[in-house]
């Protein structure tokens, strides 16, 4: 880790967004992760996405659990709200926060241990409840904070740094998320921000549970020749099935594409995701086909990336529960206290 604070000076020509802020204004404090950690690139992608979306920092809440990944919310959006929960329990806290105030954008950052091991049950229920949030897993297939044991997402063929064999089946979080009903599922790679930033922007504009599994190599314990989560392996085996461009609602679409190769999907805030189908047979709106595609390509040791599944037709948690859309802290006595007639009615119903 670096001992000095990042200098305050920035490039004099650094672009400013609609709020008059530079991307430096979306940073947090200095990362204490290992030099070269993929997680720091994910942090940079979140910074870039929030900057480009003109998000006011005070309208964002950062949620996390425990682990290298869960430390990272400190490193972006220092002026946002946040909650660092106990290990694996971030989904419950995010669910509660969502119900209390859905006017904030929720960015949950978790790791393969926090999500696929200790918090696996919590994760499953956040997905099926369609909690309105961006849930990022920084997936490196290893327990870096405890010196590099295999995590639950480590592929069976992936050996340890000293050649140890992985005896157990791996959990593919993307397949799980699609299966349990997440309405936005993508996979990215920390070494490819050109792909990751638009995915994040689209996910932040999506209403419902948006899941991004980011392969984020652990340079200290899992970036060696036998690893399937190393920079080199991912670059050699990456199979990008869709290229996703994020189009803010006010922008005209100008680029020309061959017919049938492009799919425009309008998101809830009128912005659009433009999907460029790099594999013409792939249909990102078909859950069963998507799952099958994942399994087939996984068997070939390919890492499928891109926007993999998108469903804009499902309600998010609060809509499903039919509760007030207003943040609870904005409700006054009039809304909270039933009048006599209503109270009578409720009491009668309970007799």
């Amino acid at each position: 880790m670096t001992y000095i604070a990042k200098p305050k000076f920035h490039h004099p020509n650094l672009p400013r967004n609609d709020l008059g802020l530079t991307r430096r204004d979306y940073e947090g404090s200095m990362s204490t992760l290992c030099a070269g950690c993929g997680h720091d690139s994910v942090t940079a992608a979140i910074v870039e996405a929030c900057f480009e979306l003109n998000l006011p920092a005070h309208k964002v809440a950062k949620m996390s659990g425990i682990g290298c990944s869960s430390k990272t919310p400190t490193y972006f959006l220092s002026k946002s709200h946040g909650f660092n929960s106990v290990h694996g329990r971030m989904p419950s806290v995010a669910t509660g926060a969502n119900l209390a105030n859905n006017e904030l954008k929720y960015i949950g950052v978790s790791g393969d241990g926090d999500t696929a091991s200790i918090g696996f049950g919590q994760f499953a229920h956040a997905v099926r409840r369609q909690v309105d949030m961006l849930y990022v897993v920084e997936n490196n297939g290893t327990y870096g904070l405890t010196k590099g044991q295999f995590s639950a997402t480590n592929d069976r063929v992936s050996v340890g740094r000293k050649g140890q064999v992985n005896a157990f089946e791996s959990i593919d979080l993307v397949s799980i998320a699609i299966q349990l009903g997440a309405s936005f599922v993508a996979r990215g790679f920390s070494g490819d921000k050109d792909q990751l930033v638009p995915l994040m922007k689209a996910a932040l504009s999506h209403k419902g549970f948006a899941f991004i599994d980011v392969i984020s190599p652990c340079v200290t314990f899992n970036n060696h020749g036998g690893s399937t989560k190393s920079f080199e392996f991912v670059r050699d085996h990456e199979h990008t099935v869709t290229g996703a461009d994020y189009v803010p609602h006010r922008d005209e679409i100008t680029a020309d594409y061959a017919e049938g190769s492009v799919l425009d999907v309008t998101l809830h805030d009128e912005s659009r995701v433009r999907l460029r189908k790099l594999d013409a047979t792939y249909d990102p709106s078909d859950r069963a086909a998507a799952l099958q595609y994942m399994m087939e390509h996984q068997a070939k040791d390919e890492v499928v990336t891109g926007l993999l599944y998108l469903n804009t037709g499902d309600d998010e948690l609060k809509e499903k529960m039919d509760v007030t859309a207003a943040p609870l802290n904005s409700l006054g006595a009039a809304e909270l206290r039933p009048d006599m007639a209503t109270l009578e009615k409720i009491n009668a119903g309970l007799r």
Partner: protein, 612 residues
């Protein structure tokens, strides 16, 4: 079947013309990154001595300067500071590091340096004449005397220093500081022939010198030929002559109302000197607009602080004489008009001429070379503007034994240029005496050394200060104006010097990239506080510059381009606003980035000696 859109295919691979990988073994590439040193005519290793000041190693800092610019005490007060406008800090925040003031700190706080002076070699039998005892000649003497040359310095004045003594007022440069640095050189066994006005170069050549160096400066101030000039008599003075007369104690008074004509540094010295000799209402009146005045901004500020009024866009029309006595001057008001070629013309506004009353006029509208003492039939060719033909690299004239330097070579410049010329002329003279081709210039001494001390520790201080530029304290105005010898600038104390030194970005500590080690993890891109690192496809430079994370619009600053990386991309770093903080190297998991200090010592006559 890789469908990755980001992966280069044979079609998308760059084709020429794309940028070649940067050759960092070219000594100029990293030297250019050290903006201050590159801009300094003598190429003083500025960041090196600023770090020494921060470490309170004032003597070492002084010696780094003395080696390269010979007059640290003088230049720390009077330099034209080409380094400061070049300073990278000025492109990152508002103002550059106060390099010049820090140089003075080294001179003010240094310890004894006698034991650090070069050993004087036994005489080699060669005799060199230096005409004029200004900064150029003294530099030649300093470089050659230790090598065993017998150097004879001629000057019309009684002591050495040249224009540093005669034109720079004592309230900017105390005599003691000048004397010390001049004496140090003269103590290298230099033979002085002062109070001797050379009237013929031929006679000097007849003395059978092995080489003659002409460092006589630009001694003639321009006159102003307008109506009334012939009647103003003793109330009209040529600026540099008048300053000399003040410096040597011949003039100690001036009228109450003074007009100074001209907008250069001599004009600033004239008006401030007038303020100290009885001038009450002192006006500087200049033809050009304020913004294009030749004087250094800090000298203009200093004059204004002493209540000198500066009027711009006024062209002198005539001296107004009443009863045979100067009573004032008339000026035409003008405005700058630019023609289609961008050339400026000062055009009259058509308003009535303005009259300003005055008792004395000081004319500081430029100075010129003057060589009536050089015979035109000795094989020394003169060219345009009646200037000697001098080679810009070797400083040799068309006479094989005669060399020129300082203002005498190519017209008025300043002290630091004179020093730089002196070093080059000394190299030429030495090579001529050793029978080495003059065009074969010695290489600078360049080292590039890693600063890595540990995982995230460097042997330089990379946590730079965010503070704005510190102001140097000044003597109280009333006191300063009542004593012509009282130095106005008091210089930084040690605390201020430390704080200012910590503003230096250490631009000499270079970011060195090793392509083979890079795993393209993006960590350096993410951490760089000024977004100057990119991993992108190679291409044509002009195009690539536009498409970087932050477009590289400063074409004077180079791009650092790596070899091709495994993904087919290259690393491109825009050197423009790099803070040299080393965070790229700290965040690099494979040490593909390293911070290495470039120490570039410009060649001098002695380098040839060492190489032989």
């Amino acid at each position: 079947m890789s469908l990755d859109e980001h992966r280069p295919t044979s079609e998308s691979r760059p084709r020429p013309p794309y940028m070649k990988p940067t050759d960092i073994t070219d000594p100029n590439f990293f030297h250019k990154v050290v903006d201050c040193q590159w801009a300094c005519p003598a190429h003083t290793p500025v960041p090196e001595y600023i770090r020494m000041i921060a470490q309170r190693r004032y003597t070492d800092a002084y010696m780094v300067n003395w080696e390269s610019n010979v007059f640290p005490g003088v230049l720390g007060r009077t330099c034209d500071r080409p380094c400061e406008p070049a300073c990278r800090r000025g492109r990152i925040e508002e103002k550059p590091v106060a390099i010049c003031r820090l140089k003075r700190v080294a001179a003010d706080y240094r310890g004894d340096i006698e034991h650090l002076m070069p050993e004087i070699a036994p005489k080699n039998g060669k005799r060199i004449a230096c005409i004029g005892a200004g900064p150029a000649s003294l530099t030649v003497a300093r470089d050659l005397a230790p090598l065993g040359y017998h150097v004879v310095v001629y000057d019309r004045d009684a002591s050495g220093g040249g224009m540093m003594r005669s034109q720079i007022p004592a309230f900017r440069l105390p005599e003691a500081v000048l004397n010390e640095e001049v004496e140090r050189i003269l103590n290298f066994g230099i033979e002085t022939r002062f109070n001797q006005n050379i009237e013929s170069l031929k006679t000097v050549l007849d003395e059978d010198y092995d080489a003659v160096f002409v460092g006589t400066g630009a001694p003639r101030g321009r006159d102003l030929d307008i109506p009334g000039r012939d009647q103003v008599g003793e109330h009209f003075h040529i600026g540099i002559d008048w300053l000399m007369s003040v410096a040597f104690g011949h003039t100690s008074k001036i009228g109450k109302k003074v007009i100074v004509l001209g907008g250069g540094n001599t004009a600033m010295d004239c008006c401030r000197t007038s303020k100290r000799l009885g001038g009450d209402d002192v006006k500087v009146i200049v033809r050009s607009p304020f913004e294009t005045m030749k004087a250094s901004p800090w000298e203009i500020e200093d004059a204004q602080r002493e209540d000198v009024e500066i009027l711009n866009n006024h062209v002198p029309l005539e001296f107004v004489i009443e009863d045979g006595k100067l009573v004032g001057m008339k000026f035409d008001r003008v405005e700058p008009i630019f023609d289609e070629n961008g050339r400026r013309k000062l055009v009259s506004t058509g308003e009535e001429p303005l009259f300003f009353p005055c008792d004395d006029v000081l004319c500081a509208i430029g100075q010129e070379n003057h060589f009536p003492w050089i015979e035109r039939d000795i094989g020394l060719e003169f060219g345009e503007w009646d200037m000697p033909v001098v080679d810009e690299v070797t400083f040799r004239s068309t006479h094989p034994k005669v060399f020129f330097g300082g203002d005498a070579a190519f017209g008025p410049e300043n002290i630091i240029w004179a020093v730089a010329h002196g070093h080059q002329a000394a190299i030429s003279i030495h090579q001529m005496c050793e029978d080495i081709d003059l065009e074969d210039r010695p290489d600078p001494k360049v080292t590039l050394i890693s600063q890595k001390m540990g995982m995230h520790e460097w042997s330089y201080h990379n946590d730079i200060s965010n503070d704005p530029r510190y102001q140097v304290p000044h003597a109280e105005k009333k006191m300063a104006l009542s004593d012509i010898k009282l130095e106005v600038e008091l210089g930084f104390d040690e605390k201020l010097a430390y704080d200012e030194a910590m503003r230096c970005l250490n631009c000499d500590v270079q970011t060195v990239f090793e392509t083979g080690r890079c795993i393209e993890c993006d960590a350096c891109v993410d951490i760089c506080p000024v977004d100057c690192i990119n991993f992108t496809m190679n291409g044509e430079e002009a195009e690539v510059r536009q498409t970087l994370r932050v477009p590289a619009l400063n074409a004077e600053q180079d791009l650092y381009v790596s070899d091709v990386l495994p993904t087919g991309r290259v690393m491109i770093k825009d050197e423009d606003v790099c803070l040299h903080c080393g965070l790229c190297a700290e965040r690099c998991p494979t040490a593909a980035w390293d911070m290495q200090q470039l120490l570039h010592n410009e060649a001098q006559a002695k380098s040839r000696e060492l190489a032989l």
